[in-house]
Amino acid sequence: MKQPATGFSLDDVSVRFGAHAALRGIDLEVAPGEAVALVGPSGAGKSTLLRVLVGMVRPGAGRARVGGEDLATLTRSALRRARASIGFVHQDLCLVPNVRVARNVLSGRLGSQGLVRSTLGMVFPPRAALDEALAILTRVGIPEKLFERTDTLSGGQQQRVAVARALYQGPAALLADEPVSSVDPARARDTVGLLTRISREEGLTLLMSLHNLELAREFFPRLVGMRAGRIVFDRPSEAITEADFHALYDLDPAEVLADGA
């Protein structure tokens, strides 16, 4: 399942939801194996940008490329393969709460399996698959939860299940959309550290959106600041200045009320 890391590229990408412009002419290159944090206020378009990269949102204009391939030109099965090669950790986790952790983890690999094989694998998981799921849960620090019901876990533990599901895909890249918005600061630091460490060890491309600029500077070598659907800055984290921070977060009142997040 191990694949070489994938790069991303957005070329003048715009997305509108009705009257709301979520992304306006975004240009962004992420090299294979790079770790990049997307920072900015709510409604800046960070989530939309990540969703464009897995083909969950179709750009109204511009091109989104994953590993050099334009998502808009892919056939359905090629799109499925492209999605299967990217692990996505969602903001609200998106786990099935009333099944065991193992099933949530195993569901990560549905994208690279046919219906019959995946059904058999979900109903009667083979020993090898469970071994692998256990190894991944060990990496994220909750091996003892393999057969617990998912909704009996704490918020922080469920977040680790979501990470484990993404890793079980055997991805070439990891996308994470505000993975720490619902946990306390100590756990947030832990999780960001976990995701950056694992992607470094595995050589995965990592693109994570974060509210927290401090965490982003601590763990990521490159920061991309977004506001109102545009990229405001894109530079190494040690070059981030006070002015950049103000450019992101000094909202004028009209913008606060117009927030379409």
Partner: protein, 289 residues
């Protein structure tokens, strides 16, 4: 624009609908000429009711018939045998209704047919799928709109008093009801998990099976148990057509004015439903864990 504080919660169209329903109810009562004096029974009716309810606390333990042929099983044995037959008919009908209800329910849910935003809808999804969806909804509406007793009348006329006629008569409207409720349960289940599976490359079928159905399943199981309980009653009622369920025993005892026997059979039916309810409640609690 400042909110109008004099009318904080205006009734609006909903108020008119409610008022309209109230007017319709009153009109219906007037149309039927309902009046309290209708509840005064005739003298003969009153004495029959008195005789009948007098036996509620003294159900028969053995046959009350004047002549019992040799070799006839005792009343309790007869009642229990009818109870078992009632369960067997209900179980047979429910197993057919469940399979049909799941298949039709999934076909009648919007979640089953919802397409992929970027992959685009396939030719099948654009042309054939809406036809199947619409046809399924019409079909389950038709199945539900005819009561099982009417289906039974129809099948008895067509094929006679065969067990299959009773099973199919119950299974058709039950499959329709199960399909309708199942489709709503699947459509109302939270979709985030299935969207996450889509983002990970899962096919539409996989998203449905592993992201959506698990969330709807506890409700679907609880509802199926409830419908099984209803099927027990339907199966008992079909005894009035001559099937050997509790309904036939009740009817025969009633026309023979053996009211004690009627109460015995009614209590057996009550016990059947209560036992089933207790058992299914325990089973559901275990499944929910």
């Amino acid at each position: 624009m400042a909110p109008d504080l004099r009318r904080p919660f205006p009734l609006g169209p909903r108020g008119f609908v409610l008022a309209g329903l109230g007017v319709a109810g009153i009109w219906a009562a007037l149309y039927l000429g309902l009046q309290p004096s209708d509840l005064t029974p005739s003298t003969g009716g009153l004495s029959l009711a008195r005789d009948f309810f007098a036996r509620a606390f003294s159900p028969a333990l053995s046959s009350e018939a004047a002549y019992v042929p040799d070799g006839t099983p005792g009343l309790l044995a007869l009642s229990l045998r009818a109870a078992v037959t009632t369960v067997v008919y209900a179980a047979a009908a429910m197993s057919v209704a469940l399979v049909l209800g799941i298949v039709l329910g999934f076909c009648a849910s919007t979640a089953w047919w919802s397409g992929d935003p970027l992959g685009g809808r396939t030719w099948f999804g654009r042309t054939v799928a809406p036809v199947i969806y619409g046809a399924t909804r019409v079909l389950i509406g038709f199945m539900r709109s005819v009561h099982e007793v009417l289906w039974a009348v129809l099948f008895l006329a067509a094929v006679g008093l065969t067990p299959l006629a009773a099973v199919v008569a119950i299974a058709i409207p039950y499959a329709g009801t199960l399909a309708k409720i199942f489709s709503e349960m699947v459509d109302e289940a939270p979709r985030e998990a299935s969207h996450a599976l889509r983002a990970a490359g899962a096919s539409g079928m996989q998203q449905f099976a592993f992201g959506l159905v698990p969330r709807a399943l506890p409700d679907m199981i609880a509802y199926a148990f409830y419908r099984f309980e209803c099927a027990l009653r339907s199966s008992a009622v079909l005894g009035f057509f001559g099937y050997e369920t509790l309904g036939r025993e009740i009817e025969q005892s009633f026309v023979s004015t053996n009211y004690g026997e009627v109460w015995t059979h009614l209590y057996v039916l009550l016990a059947l439903v209560l036992v089933f309810d207790a058992w299914s409640g325990r089973l559901r609690a275990r499944l929910a864990r």
